[in-house]
Amino acid sequence: MSGKQPAQTYFDIDKRKVDFDYLRNRLKIKHLEAKKAFAEKYPHVEKFLAKKGVEIGKLREHSAKIIGAGALTGSLLLASPASEKALPSPEALDKGKLKAEGREADLPQKLLVDTLGEFLPQKTRPLTRLEEKFLEQAFESVMGVKARAGLEGEHLNTTYGLIGAEQHLKRFPGDSVANHKPFLKEGIAPGLGAWGYFAPSKDKMTRELEETERWYAVVQTLYLPDWNSRQPYLRDWYKYRKVLIVNTQNGNAVIAAIADSGPAAWTGKHFGGSPEVMEYLGGPRYKKGPVVLFFVDDPENRVPLGPVDYNKINLPSLALRSL
């Protein structure tokens, strides 16, 4: 007899599945208890929120809707009025202006860092449309990268937030951390990225896909207010979408491809970067820090993934000194 006894079939159940179900059930029980206790103790709060059409479980969605609506109308100012500063025009980075200020010899990166330090709030928050527009122009002038906070009508919930270190992603079945030299200590994520394997098998991997995993970014697509209602369009739109990530503290910039969804809102982070992305943005000990993240406007797929070394470029709009 080749089959197993019915009583032995439980051996075939995926152990990880059991762990997941067990944890989900435990957390659900805990959640239901908290929900019940809350409803019993604060019925007036439940009533108030129900009248407003808001569920406690969907507070984040409610917040995203308000912020999104505010960003569209340009009326939302999350910083207190006292901390609002008038933004300079992108021409502030212009050669003539810099010459007049005796800063002509400054490296573009230093100019950008000084500008970001002066005009971005210290604490990360969603930027106003005006602030985003200024940064779009500044990045294009200084780095030569056409990056946009909103592209083709899509916009993340925030473009100025904290990025955290992620692990490598499995690119194909059987992939292991040993294949991701030289950054081995970061390890490889136990699960797959939001879009699964990059290739169905090792021999189907391409140079382009290798680069995509090497320079990957993580954004919080799951918290987009329309994420669930606009499927599968949004899922396809975000897959490997190029983004420009700028470390606002040192000006290091990298072009990355979105390859996973996260981090969870309760980690205090808003974006994630592959070991290679994080190394370039802040060095080997860089685990978390403020960045600006914009979509790259690259319809012809000409912008390569990887570091943006803008100290070595020379743009007509800004006569840059080569290193």
Partner: protein
């Protein structure tokens, strides 16, 4: 950003790592994240309302409904409660993180 005014008090990196170890797919991970998120909301709001005098509940809820992301709400609450709510809430949510980690460890020991 899908931000809530107390988000900066929640730093559950270890919980996230634990969930990553258990969840096999993005769907599983998102589902666990969502449960944790809702649990945090109930715990945080319950903690705040227990300290805020009943007379101020509606006013607070109105403000919270209008701008759930506004960290200025913590100043409002500090004023009405008269305690360092930020620190107390941080402790409360830290305790919840510990409970969650225990649940995750428990599920891993089921292997």
């Amino acid at each position: 950003m899908s931000k809530l005014f107390f988000d900066h008090l929640i730093v559950y990196e270890e919980v996230e790592k634990g969930i990553d170890r258990v969840a096999k797919s993005q769907e599983e991970r998102d589902e666990l994240w969502q449960i944790v998120d809702e649990l945090v909301h109930h715990r945080a709001l319950g903690f705040i309302l227990a300290r805020l005098p009943r007379a101020h509940h509606e006013e607070f809820l109105e403000k919270f409904h209008q701008a759930p992301y506004d960290e200025g709400l913590l100043d409002y609450l500090k004023e009405k409660i008269g305690e360092n709510l930020e620190e107390l809430l941080r402790e409360e949510l830290g305790g919840l993180a510990y409970e969650l980690l225990e649940e995750i460890t428990g599920s891993e020991q089921k292997k």
